[in-house]
């Protein structure tokens, strides 16, 4: 009995060792280092100096960083409702299982499979004022990506464009999990298609919707590649989303401490969001249907 337990302990820890090593060294230690860095003033060249909470004070007061938080929030507000609604819409159409649905489903996911960086470059060409496709189609000469008002919506549009097919996959799976007899019963009771959608489909999709919303928000708070490829954060910081701001603080301005402080604040926001969603989701009634 005793030997069996020892053997299990040895086997378990041995199997776990590589993964655990990786998680500790490349995930947990960096989080600790980030916290330490956020309390330093360091340009990677001269020795690091203790800065106390100065970097956090800067994060809260610096106009550029506050602007970056605001831009990120606005970006999320632009992206999330549109991408979720469109994803659901596409999923409902695909769920009708008309001939050819598989073809469309695969097609819509292609933008998601391609590297966001490369997709961003392709769209940078599409938006190019002189030889780009968009102005050629519209017959205009709009400077999309160098305009203060249009650049952020353009980046948001490309983000939605890459995500819709992917979001639709989750809604498709959610729709497939709803028993048909519920909608049938409602129809027998005289409910029209809209009524069935609002009163049956949508409430039963709540777990999927909740998942899609929260993972969407978390990833939209971390968009980097698309910004790097399309605008480089410009014009004048108009598209400087937080991940890009962290990158340029760290590797252009060489302010490691400040970059780490922004990252820590962003992480706290994301963790709170995740926990709030879990709590909210756990609190709500779940609809159990015997099949």
């Amino acid at each position: 009995m005793r030997t069996r337990r020892t053997r299990d302990a040895v086997t378990g820890w041995a199997l776990l060792a590589p993964s655990l090593l990786g998680t500790v060294v490349f995930l947990l230690v960096p989080v600790g280092v980030a916290l330490w860095l956020s309390l330093q003033r360091w340009d990677l060249v001269s020795p690091a100096r203790w800065a106390g909470l100065d970097n956090y004070a800067t994060v809260l007061s610096d106009a550029g960083i506050r602007h970056s938080f605001a831009v990120t929030l606005l970006f999320t507000v632009l992206v999330i409702p549109v991408q979720t609604a469109l994803g659901l819409f596409v999923a409902v159409l695909l769920a009708r299982r008309l001939p050819g649905s598989t073809f469309f489903r695969v097609l819509y996911v292609v933008p998601w499979v391609c590297a966001p960086l490369v997709v961003g470059l392709v769209w940078r060409w599409v938006f190019d004022p002189s030889t780009g496709a968009l102005n050629a189609i519209l017959g205009t000469r709009v400077e999309w990506l160098t305009s203060h008002t249009l650049a952020l919506p353009a980046v948001a549009f490309v983000t939605v464009w890459t995500q819709v097919g992917y979001v639709a996959l989750f809604f498709l799976a959610g729709l497939a999990g709803i028993p048909a007899q519920l909608a049938d019963a409602a129809r027998v009771d005289g409910a029209g298609p809209w009524r069935v959608f609002w009163s049956i489909t949508l409430p039963l999709l709540r777990p999927t919707t909740s998942f899609v919303l929260i993972t969407g928000i978390i990833s939209s708070f971390q968009v980097f590649d698309t910004v790097y490829a399309m605008t480089g954060g410009g014009p004048g910081g108009a598209t400087s989303l937080l991940a890009y701001e962290i990158y340029s603080e760290a590797f252009t301005a060489l302010r490691m401490g400040r970059a780490a402080a922004i990252a820590v604040v962003l992480t706290v926001v994301l963790v709170v969001l995740t926990l709030a969603q879990r709590w909210w989701f756990g609190r709500r009634t779940t609809y159990e249907v015997a099949s």
């Binding site: 776990l16 590589p18 090593l21 998680t23 960096p30 860095l37 008309l98 599409v126 496709a133 998942f211």
Partner: protein, 275 residues
């Protein structure tokens, strides 16, 4: 026309419009990459290439801008990470699923918690750590942070391993199989679909990875395909016939791979992201 056929026609029209939107940029940029720079400069953006030319691809693949070394680096990185991530995740997931070692529940809770740590917070400290360790601009510098798998992969595999019938494992153990042989001959073969999905996710995400290779590499020796493409664009800004050739080349292998295994992937993305 009845209401039903009207609905079907409407559905197809919307789906087709979506397809045009999804494919449009690819088709147009592919056509651009087959044009001569002079033709594009005349604002002939929406016309067929005249004449058709493969010169942009020849330039991007050979000569001074060559993407070939970056392609080789990317393939190496993806292969090493694929093996490393799958092996480490399978071992750890099996320990969590079937080996009752002390501390298992606590540790698994810790793994779940680490799934909340966003990449954006680890990137700056990782760079500092790797710079101190002299790993900047090396092959291992690129692969090490993700070589040992992700908590997400462990979590996903554990769920599947728990569904493998215990009787099969017990029978194999009675026949004298050790843990590793059980893994190789019972658990892994029975989990082939989820392993394939995980493999595809790994390949796609590593092929497309940009931020980490961007900061950990300098110069052409170790740059990956995404980094090389970005550099090419900033170096030849406005030279869109060349840049679209590069973007097309950078995307083509993955799109082909995806179209080959698409049914599998689209059906299981929901399975992996969810539950």
């Amino acid at each position: 026309m009845t209401r039903r056929t009207a609905g079907v026609v409407g559905t197809y029209l919307v789906l087709l419009a979506g397809a045009v939107l999804a494919l449009g940029p690819y088709v147009l940029s592919l056509l651009t990459s087959l044009k001569e720079p002079a033709q594009l400069a005349r604002r002939a953006t929406l016309t067929w290439p005249a004449p058709w030319t493969g010169q942009n691809y020849a330039d991007v693949l050979g000569g001074q801008y060559t993407l070939v070394p970056a392609l080789v680096v990317t393939v190496q990185v993806v292969l090493v990470l694929l093996v490393g991530q799958l092996v480490c995740s399978v071992l750890a997931a099996y320990a969590f699923a079937r080996v009752p070692f002390p501390g298992r529940r606590l540790l698994f809770g810790g793994y779940l918690a680490t799934m909340m740590v966003p990449q954006v917070v680890t990137i700056v400290p990782l760079y500092v750590m790797f710079a101190q360790a002299g790993l900047r601009n090396t092959f291992w510098g690129i692969v090490l942070p993700t070589l040992f798998g992700s908590p997400f992969a462990v979590y996903l595999l554990r769920e599947h391993f728990r569904a493998v019938p215990q009787d099969l494992e017990d029978a194999a153990r009675l026949d004298g199989c050790g843990t590793l042989r059980i893994l190789r001959h019972v658990v892994v073969p029975l989990s082939r679909p989820v392993l394939a999905t995980l493999a595809v996710i790994t390949v796609v995400s590593q092929w497309n990875n940009f931020l980490w290779p961007l900061i950990i590499t300098t110069g052409p020796t170790w740059q990956t395909l995404t980094v090389a493409t970005a550099n090419l664009q900033s170096q030849y800004n406005g030279n869109w016939t060349l840049v679209t050739a590069a973007t097309t080349l950078a995307m083509a292998p993955l799109v082909v791979l995806f179209l080959l295994v698409n049914k599998h992937v689209t059906e299981s993305i929901s399975l992996t992201g969810f539950r």
